[in-house]
């Protein structure tokens, strides 16, 4: 019955992370969100991804694209062994971070607003609470990503059963890459969610942050382009446009950017959590 003092950090972080996942899976609201997500991806898989992959396999289409965008800009897109995975990659690069902003907007906001945190902070440290919720929301997104990739693998196999192995290999690379990409988005949402009074407000803050940053960067770019070029890398998602034209192991070239962003954002979030009133 004695509470644990020092060994509790890791244990409680894991308990809280698992609890977040459980909240999604064993709660009608969470299940509705999950169904909505699956439906969106079902539509994407059935229409753009299935039909676009047939385009990608067409040499005339390749020539057309190369003519419009230039030979180099999207050359890697045609290197994918499984065309469906190529289209999934492009869609996921933009859609998943967007999902992330919505899915992880309520890491802390409503609990803090209604005082539920007050029941937790006397039982577990604020570090475990912050990290546990963050990991929990990463787990939720991992689950969603896993569903999507498996569905794509099945879609590719329905076209050609021999694609199983290449589809799985690409799937694993896309999976790891996407997790790395989503990490700083979720960390930024953790901070905004701590600051905001509701999930909706956190989402609005996120939109404002990206919009204002884009404007500020454009202004700085006008006067001191070298600094704007550097500052550009501080925002989550800065590398996304460059990642479209990568595939296979080559896509990991940009991984250090989101990893560093995540570490910095988690450190800032943890510090904010420690100092904030509940």
């Amino acid at each position: 019955m004695e509470p644990n003092a020092d060994s509790g950090l890791m244990r409680n972080t894991l308990i809280l992370a698992k609890f977040e996942l459980k909240k999604l899976l064993f709660n009608p609201r969470g299940l509705i969100a999950l169904v909505a997500f699956s439906l969106v991806w079902l539509l994407l898989l059935l229409y753009p991804i299935r039909s676009a992959s047939s385009f990608l396999l067409n040499p005339d289409f390749k020539q057309l694209i190369a003519g419009v965008f230039g030979e180099e800009s999207i050359s890697q897109l045609f290197q994918w062994q499984v065309a469906e995975m190529a289209i999934l990659w492009i869609s996921a690069l933009y859609i998943f971070p967007l999902f992330s902003i919505f899915v992880s907007a309520d890491q802390f906001a409503s609990d803090r607003q209604r005082g539920t945190f007050r029941f937790l902070t006397l039982r577990t440290g604020r570090d475990s609470l912050f990290l546990g919720r963050y990991i929990g929301h990463m787990l939720i997104q991992t689950l969603l990503l896993l569903f999507t990739i498996l569905a794509t693998v099945l879609l590719a196999m329905s076209r050609d059963a021999t694609l199983l192995l290449p589809a799985l290999t690409s799937g694993v690379i896309v999976f790891i890459n996407m997790i790395i990409i989503l990490a700083p988005f979720t960390a930024l949402m953790a901070i905004l969610s701590l600051y905001a009074n509701s999930a909706r407000q956190a989402t609005i803050y996120a939109i404002l942050l990206w919009a204002v940053s884009a404007i500020v960067l454009a202004i700085i770019n006008n006067y001191i382009p070298s600094i704007a070029g550097l500052l550009h890398w501080t925002l989550p998602g800065a590398q996304l446009s460059l990642m479209i034209n990568t595939q296979g192991m080559g896509s990991f070239v940009y991984a250090p950017i989101p990893v560093i962003q995540t570490l910095v954002l988690l450190f800032l979030g943890r510090t904010y959590m420690k100092r904030s009133s509940l």
Binding site: M1, G8, R29, G115, R123, G125
Partner: protein, 299 residues
């Protein structure tokens, strides 16, 4: 070691000073009451003790540790004012999470949750979500969560506000029964209730700590408070004042009188009082040794 120690504890919200240089040292033992008007800083003091807020100035320690420190996890529990449980999850799920965070296994945590919910007579609604509970039931659930595990200090911010008399009594009995193992600090506006439960009363007003009153002092206090059923006002006062050793008899409110006497001059005041009222055919409702808490604090 003192249980709670505050030194010049100050908290301000912008320009508003909510708590102004409070210094107290409290030891573990009987329940301690915290009273004061609305906006006196009671909830702020509780929040500082729980580590929800960080002091603007001064220091506070609980069992020698700063509030919110890892060593205090599970040892300090509280019923925070205005905090509500997650409306989307049923009671048992949330309570089991609380228990596991305090170091219990999932199975132990569930058993412990059922135990504390039974203490407040909520065993039949453990599968329900907080939304479907009445205000009083939610309050009792919030009190129950403070009892999970083996806390040494439990801070209850207005535990019986909004409860019906029967349930308020259950909570009072619970506090009394557990106070041999747990030190309770209770804030309330119900002075009668505090009088029954607590030994020590702290009075907070406008962020400052006023007097600290001990209920135990009543035994040595040279006062008697009487509530009469029916008697003639002036006759009653003059008859009492004519007794040797009575310094004064003051009417406090309708049919309630405060008798100040000198213990050296009158040894059997109770006997003389009862003799007097039986001779005059008066009826009394209550006799209290000492003064009421209300009288001590506000006169």
């Amino acid at each position: 070691m003192s249980l709670i120690k505050c030194e010049m504890l100050t908290k301000s919200y912008g320009s508003k000073l909510a708590l102004d240089g409070v210094s107290i040292e409290l030891k573990s033992g009987s329940p301690i009451a915290l009273v004061g008007p609305n906006g006196a800083g009671k909830t702020t003091l509780f929040s500082l003790l729980c580590g929800y807020l960080i002091p603007s100035c001064g220091s506070v320690t609980i069992m020698g540790e700063k509030p919110g420190s890892r060593k205090l996890l599970g040892k300090v529990a509280s019923l925070p004012q205005d905090a509500t449980l997650d409306p989307n999850l049923n009671l048992i799920t949330q309570f089991t999470l609380f228990g596991t965070l305090q170091g219990l296994t999932a199975k132990q945590a569930k058993a412990e949750s059922l135990r504390v919910l039974s203490l407040v007579d909520l065993a039949h609604v453990v599968e329900q979500k907080p939304q479907s509970l009445s205000h009083g039931m939610s309050k009792r659930a919030s009190i129950a969560q403070a009892l999970i595990g083996s806390p040494q200090l439990v801070l209850l911010d207005e535990p019986t506000a909004g409860l019906d008399p029967a349930n308020a009594k259950v909570i009072r009995e619970l506090v009394r029964a557990l106070s041999s193992d747990i030190t309770f600090v209770i804030s309330s506006h119900n002075l009668d209730e505090l009088e029954k439960l607590c030994d020590q009363v702290l009075y907070l007003d406008q962020g400052k700590l006023g007097q600290s009153v001990s209920i135990q002092e009543n035994m040595t206090d040279e006062y008697l408070t009487v509530s009469m059923q029916e008697c003639e006002d002036e006759l009653f006062v003059s008859a009492l004042e004519s007794l040797t050793g009575i310094n004064s008899v003051t009417k406090k409110q309708e049919n309630e009188y405060l008798i100040h006497y000198s213990a050296e001059e009158i040894h059997d005041i109770e006997v003389q009082f009862f003799t007097l009222i039986s001779k005059n055919g008066w009826k009394y409702r209550a006799l209290l040794k000492g003064r009421t808490l209300e009288d001590k604090l506000f006169s």
